[in-house]
Symmetry: C2
Subunit: 543 residues, 2 copies
């Protein structure tokens, strides 16, 4: 498939897609490129972003997306409604940066996957923390609900309004404040796009400690607010460890300055932790200080064939021991995934067919050493029969070609028709059993059941497909999958968060006492409930 040419701003494309309501993404993109694109860029269809466009294109085959509030029968909170005086006040505060045109607002009201649509009438585009503070002071005094929005790349409906919440976009807050090359500390505004930060850091030999498929659109403030995981978590840990400081505007407009750049600071409660992963329900992140590792000098990728899941775990253990400090990714997929890639995308298996495959990436400061470590590891796992076949890529083209098998699985799944997608964390001992049990349970109802994901992080992507949406099949999957996950103390949302779509399932992963404490903290920090309502916690509002 030839690379598509997409416009530079994916935000505009989303808006356009929402407006045109066309049937097929590829046609839409092509026509948009011809008519509007001033600065087209080459775009590889194997990336996660393209997968999302494909997903979006499926939705576009239906008529205009139903409002979230209607589809899910949500009751509006007891918030004020926006008056002309409110709009005038915001126009005065943010001249030229208040959007009230309903057509312009469509893209901001609709989520990336076109699962959720809100009905906001007002978008504000502050440039400074002080402006965000003024907005919140006013909204708090008027009891107006708000919806903080970064790149709007969330997958659980957490980044779009449900009713008429005012959208506060951080897109214009995109200044890099400082980079300290020696300590590896980056300080920037919340609206900086992840990829732009990576590029900036690359010049001084640093890299961001996280990497996501959505990096071309997602913003660091949103990453922090959703505790984004991604590909580098295994090596560099979660944002709870790498975020050094935050500046946050609270519900009443208070600016909370915890923008420390220090690695060690034990003076009182670590307040910034509260805002990491709270999806904008406790405050609006306006600036971030984050610890950035050195960019690796060399990268290798191996794909290995394994005869059973236990041996995948043995390979993981050996990789941790023998590759140790250079191990940067350990992904796995089952044979159903390889069949899918072959049949739906015409991709080739670079090794012989096996029941399981693992992809092992190394990244280090010395290419010769890394290659030697990888070879020693391979000799051992092949010699001991843990792994049965394999190949190693060291140049970037071959690395990308192998990665594309794993990265394009979501795209491949869409060719089957309808996809039931789950993002689960499980203890490694029970990791693959869920796929086996699911396969047995859904039986002939499903086209296929596939399991793949970040084995190194214990994060399983379980997908079930059928030709079209099938309510009977859904009933077979849910709540079975949540109950199963809960029984093994897993998480029903490993990295996507709860947002709007999964908030009512929180009890499958958290105790009642924990949820009660969360609600108490929410009530303490946002007593009027105006910050991103209808998200993360189960509903308690009503007229």
């Amino acid at each position: 498939m030839a690379p598509l040419r997409l416009p530079v701003s994916l935000g505009y494309l989303r808006q356009y897609l929402s407006l045109t309501n066309n049937g097929c993404l590829h046609r839409t993109v092509a026509s948009y490129s011809r008519v509007h694109a001033k600065h087209p860029i080459t775009y590889q269809p194997s990336s996660a972003q393209t997968r999302r466009f494909c997903l979006q294109s499926r939705s576009l085959q239906k008529e205009e997306l139903e409002l979230t509030s209607v589809r899910y029968n949500v009751q509006r909170g007891n918030f004020a409604r926006i008056s002309n005086e409110d709009v005038a006040m915001f126009e005065k505060l943010l001249p030229g940066r208040v959007i009230a045109d309903p057509e312009e607002l469509v893209g901001y009201n609709t989520d990336w996957l076109r699962m959720c649509r809100g009905n906001s009438r007002l978008l504000l585009r502050p440039k400074t923390t002080e402006e965000v503070s003024e907005i919140m002071k006013y909204c708090s005094s008027r009891n107006l609900a708000v919806m903080p929005q970064g790149g709007n790349t969330g997958l659980v409906g957490g980044s779009v309004p449900v009713f008429d919440e005012i959208i506060i976009s951080t897109s214009l807050m995109n200044k890099i404040i400082s980079v300290d090359e020696i300590s590896g500390t980056l300080v920037c505004q919340a609206g900086c796009v992840l990829e732009a930060l990576s590029t900036h850091l690359s010049d001084v030999g640093l890299m961001m400690p996280l990497d996501l498929g959505a990096k071309g659109s997602c913003q660091i403030g949103g990453n922090v607010s959703t505790n984004a995981g991604g590909l580098r978590l295994m090596r560099y840990g979660s944002l709870h460890g790498s975020v050094l400081g935050l500046e946050v505007v609270q519900a009443d407009g208070t600016i909370l300055d915890c923008l420390s750049t220090l690695r060690k600071d034990n003076t009182g409660y670590d307040l910034k932790q509260l805002f990491i992963g709270s999806e904008g329900t406790l405050g609006i992140v306006t600036a971030v200080s984050i610890l950035c590792p050195r960019k690796p000098q060399s990268t290798n990728l191996a794909i290995l064939g394994v005869s059973n899941f236990q041996n995948c775990l043995r390979a993981l253990k050996e990789a941790k021991g023998m590759l140790g400090e250079i191990l940067s990714a350990f992904e796995f997929m089952d044979s159903a995934c390889m069949d899918l890639a072959k049949s739906n995308l015409n991709l080739t298996n670079p090794i012989s067919d096996k029941p399981f495959y693992v992809l092992i990436e190394t990244a280090g400061s010395n290419g010769t050493h890394d290659e030697e470590k990888l070879n020693l590891f391979l000799e051992k796992v092949l010699g001991e029969g843990i792994v049965e076949d394999g190949t190693v890529a060291t140049d970037s083209t071959k690395i990308q070609s192998i990665w594309s098998i794993r990265e394009r699985l979501a795209e491949a799944l869409l060719h089957d028709g309808y996809v039931y997608k789950y993002d689960i964390s499980l203890p490694l001992a029970n990791f693959y059993d869920l796929v086996v049990d699911m396969r047995e349970r859904v039986d002939d109802l499903a086209t296929r059941v596939v399991g793949y994901g970040h084995l190194g992080d214990g994060n399983l992507h379980l997908n079930v497909t059928s030709p079209t949406y099938d309510h009977e099949l859904l009933d077979k999957i849910e709540p079975f999958i949540y109950e199963w996950t809960s029984r093994y103390n897993g998480s029903i949302s490993a990295e996507h968060g709860l947002g709007f779509k999964k908030r009512d399932f929180i009890h499958f992963s958290k105790t009642q006492k924990a949820v009660e404490l969360m609600q108490q903290i929410k009530d303490l920090m946002d007593p009027k409930g105006i910050l991103n309502p209808y998200k993360m916690l189960p509903d308690k509002y009503g007229d």
Copy 2:
């Protein structure tokens, strides 16, 4: 100096020291060993623990330690006083595990450094979370204040009572619940001693992600509650990243089960973060789940002489780039430290005298590779004149001998007489300026001003000495040092916490708004203020 022989339980020794009130530690230890020790162990006097004993021995030269409440004129909170009925109730709940003998309580009432002494009449030794819960339910209903205590190795008076708070010791909660070799997850009760955990993990090729001088006594629950830093932070990050889950008993006895073993779980607010570093003021940690890295296969240590501080920073930058993933420690000390080690401990400088020294440790999975990387790094920094002299140790005896220069500095300082100790985090650009400014400021009043610490973490240990305690000198140092640190957005407590001693200085490192939010969270989670009162937050209680 020949190794001392100490009894196995340091807790008993502390008690004994408090009771005997002897002049010199070495005599005390020797006499204790002869008379009481049933299971003596060999103990190296160069370790941080011995340094602490030396520190303690100095205090013992004075008469019995003044009560904290008297020395600092603290007002007792409006808590109930323990009645006979209370004691009877606890005896029923914890048969044989209630200590009310004043002599037995001395060690638990006195902190490690003998700076603080409380007056608790009751020590409870629960074995299970349910017992801790029952204790807290009762104390909450009776408005009795409590003081959760682990190994009592804290340095800021946070781990001993101020008045008659009931001490809840976690020492008997020392069960290892599970170890998952593949995922590297350890789950254990809060009272497990750090060193015991390290030993246990070593058998399966894992290690704890933190290492402290106090590891032979400190408990993992206390480590988590104080967000302990230590020697491995540079490599493995803070406990906010490596702690995967906690079980906590709240002020009212509620058991909060957040004991997840998952690396990824984005289902609601990450409540466990609140308890990491809150020094037992929000809840009592009863169990911990923690991510453990693989134990390294090889370790190297280099000591290098550097002509100025800027070159120490350049060496740090090169080490991060060229040693990258194997860099496990980057310590620094100035020439005043080397003079001190030579004059007060008769240690030898293994290289030629220089204005600054850096110690660089590597730990990796392949000894040959590590040595090669270190050699390439040394060639570069010596070749470019960043470093002027150096030597590398690869065998454990030489490694220990070089480490001992750095590790025994605190002990060496005590030989000067009185030591004014500070533990500061600063941005690297301003790191050493504080030492220079302090030296100029105190001038002839001080015997010496030395600077050393974890340069890789931005953590400076600044020490000033004088023959005896000198109030005029103290007035020169404080609040100057806190104001200086605050001006450069540093932290007045990098890793020791605020405890009792530093709580009134919190405003030098945190904004008023941040402290207000901390107090609101405290009020929400412990409305009666019974959990470790008079600690961390500035006082608000009165009769």
